[in-house]
Symmetry: C2
Subunit: 168 residues, 2 copies
């Protein structure tokens, strides 16, 4: 199963695709960041994200697109921008026939590191450990996106009867 | 010039298309509401809105898509849902090559009724007066969407040198 993780954002939208073949059998396929420039009009930036996400889905044919849920931060305008981008990603993924799931930042940290309060460095180190990668993962948005995908594989890897908080 | 006004929403997304041929020369072309059901998964609802908006743009070929800006309401979860839907509409419109503009609720009320604090009934009555429609406009989401389109025509109808708050 291919899982495409997305850390949504307007200026930087991280993506990470992993191949999962069973519990503890996960391999990184690709990761990177889609960027749009802050001086470009918002609708054109969203159209760019739409086009690039469509292209990623066409290339990797993921069964599942896992997206980090947008929470309200101190900067509400920034949260709304991320919300717009996240909406575009969800619509594209559903249109392409993928299963679409959202996880909160705490669910992702808990699934990947075992602790919902983990910081970005701890998440990045655990992502590398799970994938057997020695070099630091850069940029951090890509590592975050892989963490979203790993959160999904961790949850589907738990046998159905004992699974808690699993998506439909 | 055809202007498609959108009052974004996840459960009810109003649309209204008007034809504008100069100051005080505006005609209603079409109006209605796109609906999705609250029991359907969010990504599928957004995919429906994406498909329907694409279809509206293909049908009416608007030069401009004018969208009501999403503000943070008391219910932040609801505001985020509208934000997702609004992002999908903006991306679709920009991809189709339309000019995309956003107006705040107060800008719309001010442009249509002359008062930024107008209520929904006052907006609906002024929309009908401007379009020469005698019957009440229903549903209200459709009237709101036409108001967004009329806000744009009111602003582009003001001669350039004296125009304030006009979009690019």
């Amino acid at each position: 199963m291919f899982v495409l993780g997305i850390d949504p954002g307007l200026t930087r939208c991280g993506y990470g695709c992993v191949k999962w073949t069973g519990p503890n059998r996960v391999k990184a396929v690709s990761a990177g960041v889609l960027t749009t420039h802050h001086t470009t009009d918002l609708p054109l930036r969203l159209a760019t994200i739409q086009r690039e996400v469509r292209s990623l889905i066409e290339e990797y044919q993921p069964e599942v697109v896992a997206i980090e849920r947008v929470l309200f931060q101190v900067n509400v305008q920034s949260a709304m921008s991320v919300g717009h981008a996240s909406g575009v990603v969800m619509a594209e993924a559903a249109t392409a026939g993928c299963e679409v799931v959202q996880y909160s930042p705490n669910e992702i940290k808990l699934a990947v590191t075992g602790w919902g309060g983990a910081d970005k460095q701890q998440v990045e180190r655990m992502v590398r450990a799970q994938l057997g990668i020695e070099q630091p993962l850069k940029p951090v948005d890509a590592a975050d996106a892989i963490a979203v995908a790993l959160c999904h594989t961790a949850i589907v890897g738990i046998p159905e009867p004992t699974r808690a908080g699993a998506p439909k």
